[in-house]
C-alpha cells in the first residue's frame, strides 16, 4: 500500500500481563479522515503512542509515510501534526512564546500560521498557558498540531473541552486538510463527531479492533437517547412495539427510550400525541458498544 500514509500490521503492546493493544491493523490514506472509536481504556491512546514512538510495541509494525515509526521516528514526527490532551505544557510561557518555540523545531516560521489559527479559534496568544481554561489549552494544542501544515495528522481526542461551535470549526479544519491531501487519523468516543468528520471508522474494544466501518453504515446503526414529555399518560407497550426502539421507561407523563436507525416510525407514533417537550441526544459510544458488541469482547462493560 505505497500510498497509505499510516499503516500498521499486527501492532501489539502488552504492559506486563495487561494488553494495551492487540494485533491492530490500520490503513489511513492521504486525503482520508479515519476515526478511531472506542470506549475509554480500549487501546486508542496506546496505539497512537506507538505511532509517535512514545512507547515501544511488543510486536508488529507501524509506518507513517513509508517510514518506520520506531527506527525513523524523528523523520516521522517531522511529518506529523500531533495532539493529545495528555500533553503537558510549560505553564509560565505565553501561548505565543510556547507555539513559537515549538515551531522552531521544524525550522519553520510559523508566526503567520499561528496568528491565523489563533484568530480562527479565538485564542488570546498573549495569555500565559497556565492561566488558560481547558478549552483554551485545547486550542493551543490544535494550533500546535496544525500550524506547520503536516502531511499526516494524529489527533487523540482533539475536541475535548471545546464548545459545540468550536467543534464545528475543528471539523471544517479537518475537512480542509483532507481536501489538501493530508491524512487525518483521529480518536474519539463520541459517535456524532466521528460521523460528521470522518470517511471511515475503526472501532476498538478491549485492545482489539472489532470493526472497520464506513461512516454511512455506522450512521444507520447509531443510537439516540430520546425523552418525550406528553400530555396524558403514555403506555410503555405502545412504544416498545416500534422498530428500532429499546430500553423504554415511562415516568408519569414522560417517556424515555433509546432509538437506533430511522426515527420515522417513532415520530409518526409521537405525532399522534400532543408533545410538550422532546429531547434527542446522541448516545455515548460506550453505551452503543454495550448494545452492539456485547458478544465480541470479554462480556459486559463492567471491566475497563
Amino acid at each position: 500500500m505505497s500510498d497509505a500514509a499510516i499503516v500498521t500490521r499486527g501492532l501489539t503492546k502488552y504492559y506486563g500481563e495487561h494488553p494495551g493493544a492487540i494485533d491492530v491493523d490500520l490503513d489511513v490514506r492521504p486525503g482520508e479522515v479515519v476515526g478511531f472509536l472506542g470506549p475509554n481504556g480500549a487501546g486508542k491512546s496506546t496505539t497512537i503512542k506507538m505511532l509517535l514512538d512514545f512507547i515501544a510495541p511488543t510486536s508488529g509494525t507501524a509506518t507513517v509515510a513509508g517510514l518506520d515509526c520506531r527506527r525513523d521516528s524523528v523523520e516521522v514526527r517531522q511529518r506529523v501534526g500531533f495532539l493529545s490532551s495528555d500533553v503537558g505544557y510549560y505553564e509560565r510561557l505565553t501561548a505565543s512564546d510556547l507555539l513559537q518555540w515549538l515551531g522552531g523545531f521544524r525550522a519553520d516560521d510559523c508566526g503567520p500560521a499561528i496568528e491565523a489559527l489563533a484568530a480562527r479559534l479565538g485564542l488570546d496568544l498573549s495569555r500565559r498557558v497556565g492561566d488558560l481554561s481547558t478549552g483554551n489549552r485545547q486550542k493551543v494544542g490544535l494550533i500546535q498540531a496544525f500550524m506547520h501544515e503536516p502531511d499526516v495528522f494524529i489527533l487523540d481526542e482533539p475536541t475535548a473541552g471545546l464548545d459545540p461551535l468550536l467543534r464545528r470549526e475543528f471539523e471544517a479544519m479537518v475537512r480542509e486538510q483532507a481536501d489538501r491531501g493530508a491524512a487525518v487519523f483521529l480518536s474519539s468516543h463520541v459517535i456524532d463527531e466521528v460521523e460528521r468528520s470522518c470517511d471511515r471508522v475503526v472501532i476498538i474494544k478491549d485492545a482489539r479492533v472489532v470493526a472497520h466501518e464506513n461512516v454511512a453504515d455506522l450512521t444507520s446503526r447509531s443510537m439516540r437517547e430520546i425523552t418525550a414529555r406528553l400530555t396524558g399518560l403514555p403506555a410503555a407497550a405502545a412504544f416498545e412495539a416500534i422498530a428500532g426502539v429499546s430500553d423504554v421507561a415511562v415516568d408519569g407523563d414522560t417517556v424515555h427510550l433509546r432509538l437506533s436507525g430511522s426515527p420515522d416510525a417513532l415520530l409518526k407514533k409521537l405525532a399522534r400525541h400532543e408533545v410538550v417537550d422532546l429531547v434527542v441526544a446522541p448516545v455515548d459510544l460506550d453505551e452503543a458498544f454495550l448494545h452492539y458488541y456485547r458478544d465480541t469482547g470479554a462480556g459486559d462493560d463492567g471491566a475497563r
Binding site: 510549560y90 523545531f105 521544524r106
Partner: protein, 272 residues
C-alpha cells in the same frame, strides 16, 4: 544539523525554566560563603580555637574532611577547605544537580511535557544530552560564583588562598555535583519518577560521603573509599595542592559514563 538544533532549543528552554531556582541557589551559596569569610578574622591565628578544634572527636573531624585538614583549620587554606570545599559545597552541588536532573527528565515525564517535546522532530539522544548539559552548566555556574566571591573578597579579610587552589577545589565540587545530576537523569530514565530519581542520586551522594569520611576511622572501610565519589572530589586537598589529576579524571569518566547510560536507557523508555 537537525539533531543539534533541537537539542539547542531544549537546552535553552530548560536553562530559562530553571532561572528562578538557580538564582535562589546562587544567592544562598553566596550568603553562606560571605558568612564564612566574615567569621574568618576572629578565628585567624586564634590559639584557643585551634586548641578546641584539635580536641574535636575523630568522627567529627572525619566528616569535615579528615583530621589532617581539620588540624590546619586556623590557616587560610585549611579554614576554607574545611568550611566550604571538604563537604559543604560538594554536597550542596549534589543536591542542586540531583534536583535539576530529576525534574528535567523524570519530572517532565510525569507531567506530560516530555510528550510535548518528543512529539517534535528531535531525537531522544539530543534531548537527554541537552538536559545533561544544562545540569552541568548550572552546577559550574554556582560553583564559579562561590569561587569568585572568595577570590575577590577573601583578601579583604586577610584570607588569601589564591585563585588556582580555589578553582581546583571548585572543579572537584562541580564534578561531584555533575556526577549526581547524571545519576538523577539515569534513575529518571529508568523509573520515570522524579522523587525516585532525586532520592537515588542523593542516597548515592550521602552514602559516598559517609563512606569517604568513615574510611578514615574504620580501617576495614579504607580499601572501599575509592568507590566513593566524594573521596575523589576532596582527597588530595585541592585548595592547597591544586588539581589531583587522577581523581578528577576518575570523576569525569564517571560523569560521562552515567550520562551515556542515561541516553541508552532513555532511548528504550516508555513515556507516561
Amino acid at each position: 544539523m537537525a539533531l543539534a538544533d533541537g537539542g539547542r532549543l531544549i537546552a535553552r528552554r530548560a536553562w530559562l525554566d530553571r532561572r528562578r531556582v538557580r538564582s535562589w541557589w546562587a544567592l544562598g551559596m553566596l550568603a553562606y560563603a560571605a558568612m564564612i569569610l566574615a567569621v574568618w578574622p576572629s578565628l585567624e591565628g586564634s590559639d584557643s580555637f585551634a586548641d578546641v578544634a584539635q580536641d574535636y572527636p575523630d568522627a567529627i573531624k572525619a566528616l569535615f574532611g579528615g583530621s589532617e585538614a581539620f588540624d590546619a583549620i586556623t590557616t587560610p587554606a585549611g579554614f576554607i577547605n574545611t568550611y566550604i570545599f571538604s563537604f559543604m559545597l560538594p554536597l550542596l552541588m549534589m543536591a542542586l544537580a540531583s534536583a535539576a536532573g530529576a525534574s528535567l527528565l523524570a519530572g517532565e515525564d510525569e507531567d506530560g511535557r516530555l510528550q510535548l517535546l518528543l512529539a517534535q522532530p528531535v531525537a531522544r539522544t539530543a534531548a537527554v544530552l541537552a538536559k545533561a548539559a544544562v545540569v552541568i552548566a548550572e552546577v559550574v555556574l554556582v560553583v564559579a560564583v562561590v569561587v569568585v566571591l572568595i577570590a575577590v573578597f577573601g583578601p579583604l579579610v586577610d584570607l588569601d588562598v589564591g585563585l588556582g587552589g580555589l578553582t581546583a577545589a571548585g572543579l572537584g565540587s562541580a564534578l561531584f555535583g555533575g556526577l549526581h545530576g547524571g545519576i538523577a537523569l539515569l534513575a529518571g530514565a529508568l523509573t520515570g519518577r522524579r522523587s525516585t530519581a532525586m532520592g537515588v542520586a542523593i542516597v548515592v551522594g550521602v552514602g559516598g560521603y559517609l563512606l569517604s569520611s568513615l574510611a578514615e576511622l574504620a580501617s576495614w572501610l579504607e580499601p572501599f573509599r575509592f568507590v566513593s565519589p566524594m573521596y575523589h572530589a576532596v582527597a588530595g586537598d585541592p585548595v592547597s595542592n591544586g588539581v589531583p589529576v587522577t581523581n578528577y579524571v576518575v570523576l569525569a569518566v564517571a560523569v560521562a559514563a552515567v550520562i551515556i547510560a542515561a541516553v541508552a536507557v532513555f532511548r528504550g523508555h516508555d513515556l507516561h
